[in-house]
């Protein structure tokens, strides 16, 4: 069964016919061609697929594309504007908040929301706030540093 969906992705409107079972992550990666969000698991634990749906982060592997009909989506590709990195991207770069980079698109999206909701987070709040994103490389220390640095930049 196919359904027509209209979505706005990273500021661009588009319309597609999709199978009802098509997962949002596959829609973004294979129909739209946005390879930033990744698939690291199938039980919505790892968070590599995290995107923003109407401004709220969600795990796009646990959503159907049809659920996003009429909605606004931002992926990691939409973070930078006019060639300027988002402060969260800049902070992860400066603080070495990534190694293999596979979890990074999801981490960045979650961090963006985390510091929007809590502009001056403690270490504990940051660690709690990142529970939906697994990283196997960094041990999280530099990620925590990056979130703090991004919060300081956005807040200050």
């Amino acid at each position: 069964m196919k359904t027509q969906i209209n979505v706005c992705i990273n500021g661009q409107e588009r319309t597609d016919e999709v199978e009802s079972r098509l997962l949002l992550i596959h829609y973004l990666r294979e129909v739209v061609g946005l390879k930033g969000p990744h698939i690291g698991c199938e039980t919505s634990i790892c968070g590599a697929c995290t995107v923003a749906l109407n401004g709220k982060t969600v795990k796009s592997c646990a959503l159907l594309a049809v659920q996003a009909d009429g909605q606004d989506i931002v992926t990691v590709e939409g973070l930078a504007t006019d060639g300027q990195l988002h402060p969260v991207q800049e902070a992860f770069w400066n603080e070495h908040g990534l190694q293999c980079g596979f979890c990074t698109p999801g981490m960045l999206m979650t961090t963006r929301e985390l510091i929007e909701r809590n502009p001056d987070p403690t270490d504990e709040e940051i660690r709690h706030g990142l529970e939906g994103n697994l990283c196997r490389c960094t041990g999280y220390q530099h990620i925590v540093n990056a979130v703090k640095s991004a919060a300081a930049k956005v807040g200050g």
Partner: protein, 778 residues
Amino acid sequence: METTVTKKTERLIGKPIRRREDPRLITGTATYVEDIELPGMHYAAVVRSPHPAADIKGIDTRAAEQHPGVVAVYTGKDIDHLGAVPCGISLPDLRIPHHHLLAQDRVYYVGHPVAVVVAGDRYIAADAVDLVEVEYEPTDSVSEPEEALEAGAPAVHAEWPDNVAFTHHQEGGDIEKAFAEADVIVKERIVSQRLAPSAMEPRGTVASWNSGDETLTVYSSTQIPHILRTLMAGVLGLPEHKLRVIAPEVGGGFGSKCELYPEEALTAFIAMKIGKPVKWVLTRRDEFLATIHGRGHIDYYELAAKKDGTMLGLRVKIIQDVGSFHMLLTPAMPTLSVLMLPGLYRFKNVHADVVGVFTHRMATDLYRGAGRPEATHGIERMVEVLAAELKMDPVELRIKNFVPPSDFPYDTPMGVSYDSGNYKAILEKAVETVGYSQLRQEQQEARRQGRLMGIGIATYGEICAFGPSPALPTGGWESATVKIEPSGQVTVMTGVSPHGQGSQTTFSQIAADELGVDIDDIVVTHGDTSTVQHGVGTFGSRNTAVGGTALVLAIRELKEKIETYGAMLLESDDVTYGAGVCTCNKTGKTVTLGEIAMTSWTGPTYPANTQPGLVATNYWEPPNFAFPFGAHIVVSEVDPDTGEVAISRYLAVDDCGKVINPLLVDGQVHGGVAQGLGQALYEQVVYDDTGQLVTGEYMDYALPKAAMVPTIETDRTETPSPVNPLGVKGVGEAGTIAASPAVVNSVVDALSHLGVRHIDMPLTPEKIWKLVQQGGSA
């Protein structure tokens, strides 16, 4: 001619340069295997065994083949002419079962590939997997290695009913004498449980066959593209020079991508069969089932000592859970453990017996540290057990037994030679930084209040910078090609295959300093067998020490050629190259690297006996491993009501030799610590009594999350390695090796006054609570 090369006087080695890899990774523009799109792409999906042991009575593929959109279904009989999944290790009595790409008449573990379906759409391929009907006749299975060794246990392979995959013996000194002279002998059974390496990017392969040229291009998430090419050409029967392997962006490996996996070769086989590009990517569930596991040791330790704490000798029996088949380096894992058994201590008598055991499980193989964490965990636990037995402070006991700085290079009883070190200094630094004596006082006070506070110390040494070629079936050298383009810009091709380590950055720092050019004028490439000369790959903390050295030596060779060209252009026989220019030492006249490079490629004339072009390749064979070391200290508190562990402090003091980029070194330590701590507290691959994998998703396999890892403080000492001109050692595995004993020692220390001497990992709250209960009532 305008050149883009700027004069550089600032040295970059030792500076925290932010990574050159990151712009693509933080903008979502990096290309991992699953991101590769080729026209006409098809998708493969694997049918896996639900049984740990069963005879295959029949496979009915008709329904799957008839499913709209399905292009082909392959089973064991279709690939029985292809080569086996290779094991690269030889030991005198090693038994290597033939490991087909797909099961033939029997399955040997849950997850064993039985068939593969191919469709033009990944959703259809997934549907078709469910349509392949396999008739199994389950047989008895054996999952635990010690049970597999018992008489009458089900034979994993009928031809070897004792389930022994190999044995290995190594000894040094006189163990009988050491034990006879001992005042005290402490014994412990120590388990290093199976772990899932769990790189965040699941394994995957894309293969594309050009029928006109009869060439095959394989993109694979691998740490060893060149080795994979050799192995895959052998398995497929394809001329090696017709096969190109590319490791694109690789999302972590931790050793698990140092293999030729059956699915990699199957993907290539299918692409050749159907003449279309084929993509295959593992799900996380399949990653848990069918990617190698790490560790899987049951070790029996006996440590002999004098009553003053002088350690005399160590006797160890290692039982290695092999799984049902060997993968590329499986049998080497416990032999690496053996080399590290004495740790940092100077006793000369060691006796080790290893038995590798077949079980109905996925194979074990390299996982971050690969054999060395097991050994370090063992000796660092045994030192604590001895300290408790002798009522000595564990810091004092360690210092008493350390190899002293004056003894380097130090030949161990296991036949390796520690290159350099100062073990006492690094432990003292850690002890001072953490405020050890103050902590011991706090611990006394905590105990008076009924609180369970522990201080855990672990020191470690590590064999890394793999390694001299006799130690590796793959060769242990590494290569680098440095090319100065006509514009003066620099291209480096390295044989290592980094996947998160940041070697594009560190190698750029090295090249910038050696050549005296701007880092922005350097590009470091890797991972493509068609463009990179040859290489061994990335594992065993070898990138910088071995690959970086090849780079330095290639540049040094190239600098001679640069000076030859400079001499020609400056019409002088006395020139020196540095900082991007060649200077005539007599006249002070200069010519830039760009001008020299352009001349070298475009002439019109070249110096006598000198070839055109500025390009040099070096293959560096290291004379020895390098041996980093360190001391980690963990402060923890156990909740006596529930057994939950809270870590209040984690200090890592490491010595990885000369540091190229401290930011990246810290990152490696942090990541390593989180993995070792994950083993200590949370992670375990569990097969149940029936051989089923019960930790088959992140819902049950507890990969540490941010809130489960403490703040990690780092510090270091810097003892250059004499093994290579950079003086570097390696840091990829250090944190992992130190963390598991440091954490466990801390928790055991918290419970030591209750009579607890050892706890096997992971330290689940339930396990600890039970010990508290028993201790309380004892």
